[in-house]
């Protein structure tokens, strides 16, 4: 668990981060979202002390992060950034093995861990182990960047706009992969983005920042239905907030008992997708199928619309 208490950063007379406090539960994903210049990256970088706070403190599982040298602290915290920052003079394997090497792991353990991560991130070791970063596609570079951040099995992973440089299709895939990784390794993640849709999609809790201050830290649905501040409402988007609310619930969660001869939708699809499918096909209801292909229930247009109200 990460406890952030009264974290403040001042450069001269300018306050970049102003008394920010919030907690990130173990095994959860928190997303910090804000416009550029909101202090979100500085806040993230204070967690691993790439930026030293002017005031306030960060506790990792109860221990103050200042109780050990900054570079030793950072070896325990994964860090992935926009544009991946891979070492261009090192192969994929060497890049991924960076932190385990710094920690002095035995060679056999490093090898098996790197191998495991390459499998997890769908990088065929036979093809890519000895490739250099410039030989990979943008999506592959980004995956190597996250794999490198996770190599030493950190309990916490910090990410600063990790998908910022990817095109929309690869980006959506990378987001799904990240959720899979989080479920698999149980890593506590803090992710910074300026993209509200990404924040809602990935974050169990979302922190909205503006001008160095934390305006609201809550579950996505609460941010939509009860914004604490006009700025939060503007960030979350007023005109399509009903659609965003629908996007937060899956068909499986909302399915009602009964059958339907309308279109078939997967239980993992969002209500927004189901509604779109119903509008397109002109049917009044859809049949929800589980992962095994068995019917789980049905959804009518009316039932979906009811979910889109606060």
């Amino acid at each position: 668990m990460i406890q952030i208490e009264g974290l403040t950063k001042q450069y001269g007379a300018t306050t970049v981060v102003d008394r920010v406090s919030f907690n990130v539960e173990r095994n959860s994903i928190a997303v910090i979202v804000g416009t550029s210049g909101s202090g979100k990256s500085t806040l993230l970088r204070m967690i691993n002390r790439l930026v030293e706070p002017t005031a306030g403190r960060v506790l990792l599982d109860g221990a103050d992060t200042r109780s050990e040298p900054a570079h030793l602290l950072r070896r325990r915290i994964g860090y992935a950034i926009q544009g991946h920052g891979l070492f261009p003079h090192r192969t994929v394997v060497e890049n991924v093995a960076t932190v385990p090497r710094l920690l002095g792991w035995p060679e056999a353990r490093i090898r098996s861990r790197v191998h495991e991560l390459m499998e997890v991130f769908q990088l065929d070791p036979g093809l890519y182990a000895n490739a250099f970063p410039h030989q990979l596609s943008g999506g592959q570079q980004q995956r190597v960047g996250v794999a490198r951040a996770l190599a030493a099995e950190p309990a916490v992973l910090l990410m600063d706009e990790p998908f910022g440089a990817l095109d929309p299709i690869i980006r959506a895939k990378a987001q799904e992969d990240l959720l899979g990784i989080q479920r698999r390794f149980g890593t506590t993640m803090v992710l910074v983005t300026h993209d509200m849709d990404e924040a809602f999609h990935l974050g169990e809790r979302v922190a909205v920042m503006s001008q160095g201050r934390l305006l609201q830290y809550d579950r996505p649905a609460v941010l939509l239905t009860h914004p604490a501040d006009p700025f939060v409402a503007r960030m979350t988007g007023i005109t399509d907030r009903a659609m965003k609310l629908l996007a937060l619930t899956t068909a499986g969660e909302a399915a009602l008992p009964g059958g339907s001869d309308g279109p078939r939708v997967a239980s993992s699809a969002s209500l927004r997708e189901v509604l779109s499918e119903l509008l397109w096909s002109g049917a009044a209801s859809a049949l929800v199928l589980g992962e095994d292909g068995a019917p789980r229930g049905q959804l009518t247009v009316a039932a979906i619309l009811a979910r889109g109200r606060p």
Partner: protein, 245 residues
Amino acid sequence: MYGANLLRLAALGLLVAFLVSPHTFAPVFAPLTRYGAPPIYDQGDLLTLALAQLATVCCAALASTLVAVGLGILVTRPAGAQFLPLSRTLVNIGQTFPPVAVLAVAVPLVGFGEKPTLIALFAYGLLPIFENTIAGLRSCPPAVLEAASGMGMSARERLRLVELPLAMPLILEGVRLSLVINVGTATIGSTVAAKGLGEVIIAGLLSSNTAFILQGGLVTGLMAVLLYDGLRALERRLFRAVRLD
């Protein structure tokens, strides 16, 4: 590529053949002499002189490299940034102060021989290495440096594992430039009794023997070109994989 390699090999063969057996080439140089003067330098062994000059240049380059790279690293650290203007001025003086003048100043202090030449070449060779070290260290992509620190590298580890390897091609280019400039410059060392091919050129000037001047000049020039070329080929092999994107 193939033709260039053939040319290199031919040049190297020519140089070695001339140094090992200069008298074979006597007919080539004979038309340049007058009044029956010897066509080939006869007051010393050309091979020994060439090797002595190379040794002087390499010693000076080693010292220049250590100092210039050290300074370059220092002034690119946050703690040493304030020394950048001073270091740059000193290194620039080393380059702009004529080596001949350095010799004149150094001889009263350290005497005749190799020492004043080493000092002159050392000062003259600093600039390209210093500037290339700074350029190389500054060309490291910010995201890469940020990642290195974020991974938990200490400042030293970051320098050793990331910054220097990435700057290495540029640093070596500086060393190469410095070496080549100094192979030619080293000939002036002969004015203060350092062993080298300058001796041959000076002997030619004193006795109006164009053949001597040409021999000293051609051997020096060929050595410089081949050294430059050879080092570049070596760099290419070593850093084939490194590319900044």
